[in-house]
């Protein structure tokens, strides 16, 4: 959808990315920071998949009841890989947060900064 010469779907992805970035930067709770990171990752995936779609197109599985035009298969492959990477980063981040909590008893950045 184009509004005032601006592609709204792309803009929405950018806005989502920036919302996630704000969560990452401004929230004090470590879990919320990780959630912000996840929102950013989702925004980038949405951007990539949106770029690959075709107006009125079908998914790129040829022959099973689909007909041209097809969406590009490469963004789908990229995002699949990207999701696995995002899951992996989240897993490591959560394990680190668990380690922090086990040692300090808190996962709030404000309190962590005050500890010696």
């Amino acid at each position: 959808m184009v509004l005032f010469g601006l592609d709204l779907d792309y803009a929405a992805c950018v806005v989502l990315f920036c919302l996630g970035l704000y969560m990452l930067v401004a929230k004090s709770n470590l879990l919320k920071k990780v959630l912000g990171l996840n929102v950013m990752e989702t925004a980038v995936f949405a951007f990539i998949v949106t770029a690959g779609m075709v107006e009125g197109g079908d998914p790129p599985t040829l022959g099973s009841g689909t007909s041209p035009p097809y969406a590009s298969p490469i963004p789908h492959a990229m995002v699949l890989t990207g999701i696995v990477v995002a899951v992996s980063v989240t897993a490591v981040a959560l394990a680190l947060i668990a380690q922090i909590h086990a040692h300090y008893g808190t996962i709030e950045v404000d309190e962590l900064k005050e500890l010696p």
């Binding site: 592609d7 930067v25 599985t61 490469i74 899951v87 086990a102 040692h103 008893g105 309190e111």
Partner: protein, 253 residues
């Protein structure tokens, strides 16, 4: 910090929108993204790879090395989580934060951290529904794997569904019971299945065609190609599922 964050975000948004505005409107069929490589895959993909699902073709055949690295990434996540010290015993004494209001970190919470937490009591409705649906979820995951090269689906999707099933079962039945689904001696082998099978298939491809992860192109070698693809898919699915299950089991607190 909030104002700095807000300022940073506004600047980032402005620059990104300015750059993105220059892109061709998404969805137009003659944009650069749909020509060149993508168009080649859609035109010749079925003939060159024998698969109908172009996404799987890209993942396993054209860009198989990326998928190998992806399998390595999820393995890295598991190894990373296994390597980190776990529980209060290893991480040192948990310190109770005096400002109990914001974190609610009372003494009982910090005592519970690092010890095996008793599973949350589950309502009979949830218990019944999960037990009823579990086999169908498993079948769906298997079907996703089996049909992955024709319809949407494939190794990772099936691994994710299996992993989610495992977690649902663990939440309902309790971790100790469900952990027996992945017997302890088998864990180090099963978690390595992804990268190792991939390397084996790539090696076979190298021997057969002289190219890393090369698929024999002759029509007569159709069975070999199928076998390689199925091995890869199964490797990804089993490895991924076991890794996701282990990630859940390992993380405490």
């Amino acid at each position: 910090m909030r104002w700095l964050g807000a300022a940073l975000v506004v600047v980032a948004a402005a620059t990104m929108i300015a750059g993105v505005a220059d892109l061709p409107v998404h969805g137009t069929p003659d944009a650069p993204i749909h020509r060149h490589v993508g168009a080649h895959y859609l035109e010749h993909g079925v003939a060159e790879t024998g698969m109908r699902n172009m996404v799987t073709a890209v993942l396993l055949v054209y860009r198989g090395f990326d998928t190998f690295l992806e399998v390595v990434v999820i393995f890295t996540a598991l190894v990373a989580v296994l390597a980190l010290p776990r529980g209060a015993a290893e991480s040192g004494p948990a310190r109770v934060v005096s400002t109990a209001g914001s974190t609610g970190a009372t003494a009982s919470d910090t005592d519970a951290v690092g010890t095996q937490r008793a599973d949350v009591p589950v309502s009979p409705v949830v218990f019944f529904v999960v037990r009823l649906i579990a086999p169908f979820i498993a079948i769906f995951a298997l079907a996703s794997l089996y049909r992955g090269h024709i319809t949407p689906g494939g190794g990772f999707q099936s691994a994710a569904i299996f992993g989610a099933l495992f977690i649902a079962l663990a939440l309902v039945f309790g971790r100790e019971r469900v952990a027996r689904l992945v017997p302890v001696p088998a864990r180090v082998w099963l978690q390595a299945v992804g990268p190792v099978l991939f390397a084996l298939v790539a090696f076979v491809g190298w021997c057969l065609t002289g190219a890393f992860l090369g698929y024999p192109a002759e029509a007569a070698a159709h069975a070999v190609r199928e076998a390689m693809v199925v091995t890869l898919e199964v490797g990804i699915a089993v490895g991924g599922a076991v890794i996701l299950a282990q990630l859940f089991m390992v993380m405490e607190g």
